[in-house]
């Protein structure tokens, strides 16, 4: 029995590091729950206790649970990560639940403080020991944010309501369309609709998503994506000079799946217009695309880079693009990159996302390589002709920071107000 315990501890040490293992030992020594919890649930419980102590000492004022499809990375400009940082800044202790595709999937940062008062807990450890959240009963200010409408989060919804968590559902994407496109295999329409009806407050990143669920809720707030200037560095860096060969440098960063990224359109563009030099940063492109890309001298597939390196590339671009296929899925997105492009002073040409046409220095064209080229040339000439007025962009971006956006996310809602003490 002792040998088994030692073996488990060594395994935990290897997988989760010394600090998490010490937490596990501490939990085991203090807890009477041995045998009822997994040892990893025990580590989570010990971390919840730390958050409780922080609340008792006044270091934090509330608890927020944020499930995410990604591990926490402070430098990654993703909505859930920025939300965790925002809530940390507002005095919350954050339980950041990192997605696992299966129980055994090892993540790098589990059971760690990944940011000030933000702990990362892996999905299965969280969901299988959710009852430990009862220790927060003395805390009035508690939020349960559903960022992915997966059943595993719906299954905890009634428990969260019973235990006084305000429930939010933030619709970041058209998950149904993702599912149809072969992504989000966990998706179930009934579950998403149950979450939409049950949440205290609902927000969506685009008006198209607001419309999609208007048969269920009439109070869905539209809270688009944002940007973080601290992550992007100094603004207004994009190239305004002519290349020696008079070519046009265009760029893109983001996911590259052919489910929505219009590779065909880009290949046609590059084929017909050799003066267009395209840099593509990101991952997820199909193998055949990677092979085909080798034939093009004017295409550079950069791969995945650190967010900090982004500006080194964007520094050399004249125009940015978002070449998405015309799909229901594309219509629902509010791409984070659009704010980053504009912040970096890059005019943008997009396809497949009609609502972007209302943004300054963004032109949306049909998925046609000639129309795309013409628009790129037009934006390029604007850029070189100093017709891109950055004060217009600044004004547009002024209320698009994550801080401003998330302020809207937590506006008072009717259902939460039913339980709050009135002043």
């Amino acid at each position: 029995m002792i040998l088994t315990a030692i073996r488990r501890l060594i395994k935990a040490w290897k997988q989760y590091g010394l600090v998490a293992t010490l937490r596990l030992i501490s939990y085991r020594l203090k807890s009477d729950l041995v045998g009822r919890n997994t040892h990893l649930g025990g580590i989570a419980a010990e971390m919840y206790n730390e958050l409780l102590r922080k609340h008792q000492s006044g270091e934090i004022q509330g608890i927020a649970i944020i499930p995410s499809a990604f591990e926490f990375d402070e430098l990654y400009n993703q909505r859930t990560i920025n939300l965790a940082k925002y809530l940390s800044g507002k005095g919350y202790g954050v339980i950041y639940v990192a997605w696992q595709w299966h129980r055994g999937e090892v993540l790098q940062k589990n059971y760690q403080y990944v940011y000030k008062n933000v702990i990362q807990v892996p999905l299965y450890s969280f969901s299988e020991t959710y009852f430990q959240l009862k220790i927060f009963s003395e805390i009035n200010n508690k939020k349960y944010l559903i960022m992915l409408p997966a059943k595993i989060f719906y299954d905890l919804l009634f428990f969260m309501k019973e235990h006084c968590f305000d429930v939010y559902y933030d619709i970041m994407d058209d998950w149904e369309c993702f599912h149809k496109a072969g992504q989000a295999p966990w998706y179930n329409k009934s579950i998403e609709e149950a979450i939409v009806l049950n949440a205290n407050r609902i927000t969506a990143v685009s008006t198209s998503l607001v419309r999609k669920f208007s048969h269920l809720r009439t109070d869905i707030g539209c809270v688009g994506n944002g940007f973080c200037s601290e992550l992007l560095g100094a603004p207004k860096i994009a190239l305004a000079d002519i290349r020696e060969d008079a070519g046009i440098n265009i760029g893109y960063f983001g996911h590259l799946t052919d489910a929505w990224f219009d590779w065909q359109l880009l290949f046609e563009l590059l084929e017909k217009h050799k003066n267009v030099h395209l840099n593509i940063i990101g991952y997820g492109e199909p193998n055949e695309v990677r092979k085909k890309a080798q034939k093009y001298d004017n295409l550079n597939l950069v791969g995945k880079i650190s967010p900090r390196e982004l500006r080194e590339y964007a520094d050399h671009w004249h125009v940015a693009i978002i070449p998405f296929k015309k799909l229901e899925l594309s219509e629902a997105v509010d791409p984070i990159k659009i704010y980053e492009y504009l912040y970096l002073d890059l005019p943008v040409v997009a396809t497949g996302i009609p609502h972007l046409k209302d943004y300054p220095y963004v032109e949306v064209v049909d998925n046609n390589s000639e129309l795309l080229y013409n628009s790129i040339v037009k934006q390029y000439e604007k850029k070189l002709g100093n017709e891109v007025d950055y004060s217009v962009i600044s004004s547009f971006l002024s209320d698009k920071t994550w801080d401003k956006r998330f302020g809207e996310l937590f506006e008072t809602d009717f259902l939460s107000a039913l339980y709050k003490e009135e002043v």
């Binding site: 299954d155 009806l197 269920l216």
Partner: protein, 354 residues
């Protein structure tokens, strides 16, 4: 006049609401009555109870006390709490208030001291159909109806909001075998099959854990995408909730097998929310025994047809229920209270207006 109210548990339940409503009625009608309230145990509702007192500034009419000091009171009201007799010497000062629709919780009626002042029920129907049969004949001339009533709590700063695009079929209260919540789920399941997808089920209250796992039940019935659950809401927000239900053209449905009065139904009706109630004795007076608002318990298809009828005639029927509800007002209660005091040790003078 100073009285003590004793109750076993402080929850967010009907008895607590009755005691608070009485304090508001005493204040509203200028009666010099102060209720001290003793709970043997706080089951989570005490904070909401205190907030209500504070919110409506009822401190002159109600306070929570931590000890039973018999000598301080003109009368002691025991709400289904026979434990009080262990703390009280002169049991002739005790008024036994029976509010429990649960038979096992009324078993104590057989063994209460013979000299209690009165045995009180919150409604005529409950008295005649239940209490009279369960008490010893010696109490025959001391049975008294002190009616429940509605008093508006809609003084909050929360504007009613339309948030759902469908109509709520709403139930507010405890969910257990007596309240027959599973039948409501069955009704809703058939509604989904037979009627257009215009409705959702809104359940607000405590689910008794041994009764059902609500999540599993709605999953089995395949209605999870149209069922919304909320924990019990604070006393002073019930009207806000029903105002919102009305705004959504919602209907209150209670399939209960036993009630002592049906306070939640009355609160719904008072906020112009039409109701569909199971045909039990205690429900009948609330709805004037109008067949439009009742169905035979167990007859799911009748219930579905009635929901459809109410929905089709929503405006007229919401006016009608509000008219039925109007007579269950605080003036009616105060009149009965005076009668109770006059007939109990001639205490009427002690509660005269300020």
């Amino acid at each position: 006049m100073r009285v003590l109210c004793v109750y076993k548990y402080a929850t967010v339940g009907g008895v607590e609401r009755v005691i608070l409503n009485r304090a508001r009625a005493f204040k509203e009608h200028g009666l010099h009555v102060k209720q001290d309230v003793f709970f043997f145990q706080d089951s989570g509702g005490l904070q909401y109870f205190r907030k209500f007192i504070n919110y409506f500034q009822l401190e002159d009419h109600i306070a929570v006390v931590s000890e039973i000091e018999e000598k301080n009171y003109d009368l002691i009201f025991s709400f289904d709490t026979p434990e009080v007799f262990e703390y009280v010497r002169d049991t002739s000062n005790v008024i036994v208030e029976c509010h429990s629709p649960y038979k096992e919780s009324r078993a104590y009626l057989k063994s209460i001291p013979k000299n209690v002042a009165k045995i009180v029920s919150p409604g005529e129907a409950f008295m005649e159909s239940v209490i009279r049969d369960e008490v010893l004949s010696v109490f025959g001339d001391r049975l008294f109806v002190l009616p429940n009533f509605y008093i508006s709590n809609a003084h909050t700063n929360i504007p009613p909001a339309k948030i759902w695009a469908k109509k709520p079929i709403c139930y507010v209260g405890r969910m257990d075998s007596l309240k027959n919540t599973k039948e409501l789920l069955d009704i809703f399941t058939i509604m989904r099959k037979k009627l257009d997808d215009d409705y959702f089920l809104l359940l607000v209250g405590d689910v008794r854990p041994h009764y059902m796992d609500i999540k599993d039940t709605i999953k089995k019935l395949r209605v999870e995408d149209r069922v919304v659950y909320f924990r019990p809401i604070p006393f002073e927000k019930v009207d806000v909730l029903f105002t919102a239900v009305k705004l959504h053209n919602g209907i209150f449905v209670s399939p209960s097998r036993g009630e002592s009065f049906g306070l939640s139904a009355l609160e719904a009706m008072s906020n112009n929310v039409p109701v569909l109630l199971s045909e039990i004795e205690c429900h009948k007076p609330l709805i004037n025994n109008d067949p439009a608002f009742r169905y035979q318990p167990g007859d799911i298809h009748e219930a579905v047809a009635k929901v459809e009828y109410i929905s089709d005639n929503y405006y007229d029927l919401s006016v009608k229920v509000s008219q039925f509800a109007a007579k269950h007002n605080s003036a009616y209660f105060i009149e009965s209270w005076r009668e109770l005091c006059a007939g109990t040790k001639n205490l009427l003078d002690t509660c005269k207006p300020f």
